[in-house]
Symmetry: C2
Subunit: 88 residues, 2 copies
Amino acid sequence: MNFDDIIGTAAGIFTTIGVLPQIIKALKTQEVKDISPYMFIILCIGVGLWTVYGFIKSDWPIILTNGISFILNGIMLSILIMQKRKIK
Amino acid sequence: MNFDDIIGTAAGIFTTIGVLPQIIKALKTQEVKDISPYMFIILCIGVGLWTVYGFIKSDWPIILTNGISFILNGIMLSILIMQKRKIK
């Protein structure tokens, strides 16, 4: 692993775990009304496309981190949808 | 602009504009208590590092989109900090 891979992996770790505090907060408080679901819909599409980009470039830091990011953003989106249903 | 640049740019546009609906919602409602500030702190560090990664690889879609993403996440973080001060 060379220097650019280390920076790429560190970058990917931060952007990937970024959603975790929001997931934990939402699960703890069960309050999500201030959060925009559109943000997580758009982010899912975006990191999904980054994963494709990583495959085209055979760039593993991009593939791995955005793949996991896609799953985590998907979890957050699911929480938002489930909470919205509960309110109804 | 070839195919991988197009995918990279599309990916970057989505992950960049993803924060916008949240910024608009926060400015409209002035309610941010359900949003985790840690999410945006970590995302700022992450996209900042992605920008560095882009410079190392001379990869313009990565530099541009993550650079703008850094600014937008920074704006969202500022809103959160200002709202927190208002509550106090």
